[in-house]
Symmetry: C2
Subunit: 336 residues, 2 copies
DNA sequence: TGTGCCTACTCAACCGGTTCAGTCAACATC
DNA sequence: GATGTTGACTGAACCGGTTGAGTAGGCACA
């Protein structure tokens, strides 16, 4: 089946290719009557501009890239990325930008993908997830001058735009809530320690704990259920076990809940549990989990708007998204 | 920063653009010595072919599309799609194909996306998920002659290639297992009834139940935890309540487990639970869920191989993937 | 009537690859 | 020595848009 081109439209309208291009793109240079005629023909024959031809002459790919650097089993189980993608997509498709996705094994591979995308002109910009401290991807993107929005920050992003949320504040609020309930020994099962937001949370957790005069220990984990369960088992086996545990994602929190039950501890009676990331999963457990949540699709949509603005050459800085808020459910209570 | 083109390479190598193209693509027409020289220069200056130029002249976009038609909150919570994407990606990136993702609201919008992609030549082929009975997308793709692989089937796929698994067999096996344990009243909380695989499972469930002479009722749901919980509550409130429930996905199974516990029923003592889709979630609950699983990334990888073959013009039919197998865990036992 | 200026176009180059039709030298064959 | 044949390469057209330069016709104004 032959795809219609602007030449076909031009022939039918009795004008030149250039006139058709002006008409379709809302540029001046054609009369209103001709523009309407051309638009009608385009509509009638179901014309869509060839994206490659457009990219080649217009030098814009009309696509943005997202490279995800997590193993398949974690990607699948964590609702965060899919919700983010949904939000990003909503914004992109409204402006008929495509989203190109690539799963990579490590940050080096991710850098290679950026270089390839840049060289191939496959994307006009990229999202950068899981920011690390002194992230090696940042200088590469700066040098390539590939528009980018870091999802995270606001530090260590170099000259790149970013979108971030005040995790430290959310964490402080949560800790205050637990202390107000009467908890004095509170643990946190953190995410991958090399990630910047883990570092930010760990620092805030320690500082607020000290300020409130309570024990606040963080143990590192990797977002998987297995590791979350193992960390919980270790915490709950200590002589001086915590009365509340805060988890850096919902998957680990659910694993932790399961471990507590397996060890015969009542939740929330013997142990209070708080999850970071309030996906629908948190309401499926028994008891449902108290969780720190925010609107992830909206976060993604905002990131997409930032990136599109950056691609248009606007000077973009750091944008602060809403702080996560605590939704108390059945998994938190005063300690017995 | 200027991107290198084949003209740059040609100039440095002292040959024409055509020769460079032959050399880079492993075509005959250049001597081995010249080929090596050109390859070395390309390597040195970090050349990547402009994907738009390639698409424009070669008429292949080097990208495939996946349109997902589920609301954000379900997409996020169901590990299936992300695992599928991981598998697809692994195969595609090895052949340096890109994956273009789009989230759509309904099948009509999905058809519009296919038409747009086709018109824009943005993708060389697409994956079709969530096949329905007499799916309206199938004839559209056939007419566009856009290579496609249906993930599901093997019926109602028209002339399109597909990859499928024998859900009916897996379901029969599971039902036999539950009956062998001593269950006589078994319920199933099914997925969206308009989807073909739901229909296939429902039919198999009824047939095998009849063959084994046990009560086997299916109630419809929509894959969400909320609906799964509601259906479970209804089932467990009936005078003649089932002693085992089979859920069409893991999220509903987890919700069901939670409802059972909330109603004071012991799992597996009073109620056995089996989940379809064995993601890591199933091992996080207490007790862990007996589940029907298969290797989803491998499924995705195979689908990608099929699609690439179809794009190359090979005649592809239906490919049957491994049948899901049951992993018994703590949520199933003989009824009390 | 000539000049200037606008509007509404046309024309052709260009983006960066691929590919087909030639060209030309070297070698083989009779 | 004339005649293929082959290998290695060049040159130009082409894919389907965008865009800047050029132009024809109409109108205003002096």
């Amino acid at each position: 089946m032959k795809r219609p081109t602007i030449a076909d439209i031009a022939r039918r309208a009795g004008v030149s290719k250039g006139a058709v291009s002006y008409a379709l793109n809302g540029q001046p240079g054609v009369s209103e009557a001709t523009r309407q005629r051309i638009l009608a023909i385009a509509q009638e024959i179901g014309f869509n501009p060839n994206s490659a031809a457009r990219a080649l002459s217009g030098s814009t790919a009309n696509a943005v890239g997202l490279a995800l650097c997590r193993p398949a089993r974690i990607l699948g189980i964590e609702p965060f990325f899919m919700e983010l993608i949904s939000g990003v997509e909503a914004e992109l498709s409204a402006r008929s930008y495509a989203l190109t996705l690539q799963v990579v094994a490590d940050p080096e591979a991710e850098i290679a993908v950026y270089k390839q995308w840049w060289g191939e002109r496959r994307v006009d910009g990229v999202f950068v997830c899981d920011l690390r401290i002194d992230d090696s991807r940042v200088p590469v993107l700066e040098e390539l001058q590939l528009p980018a929005v870091v999802i995270g920050g606001p530090e260590h992003t170099g000259e790149l735009a970013c979108i971030w949320a005040d995790d430290a504040a959310a964490l402080g609020e949560t800790l205050e809530y637990l202390v107000a309930l009467g908890h004095r020994r509170i643990a946190r099962v953190g995410g991958l320690p090399e990630l910047l937001h883990t570092e930010i949370r760990s620092r805030a957790f320690a500082e607020v704990g000290q300020r409130l005069g309570v024990e606040a220990v963080t143990v590192s984990s990797d977002y998987t259920g297995e590791e979350g369960a193992r960390a919980t088992r270790r915490l709950l086996s200590s002589a001086h076990r915590p009365t509340a545990i805060l988890y850096d994602n919902d998957v680990m929190a659910i694993a932790g809940l399961s471990v507590a039950q397996e060890m015969g501890l009542a939740v929330p009676g013997d142990l209070s549990i708080v999850a970071w990331d309030d996906s629908a999963l948190c309401q499926l457990t028994h008891p449902p989990l108290t969780a720190l949540g925010r609107d992830i699709p909206a976060y993604g949509a905002h990131a997409a708007r930032q990136l599109l603005a950056a691609i248009e050459g606007k000077k973009i800085g750091a944008y602060q998204h809403e702080t996560a808020h605590l939704t108390p459910r059945g998994s938190t209570a005063p300690p017995r």
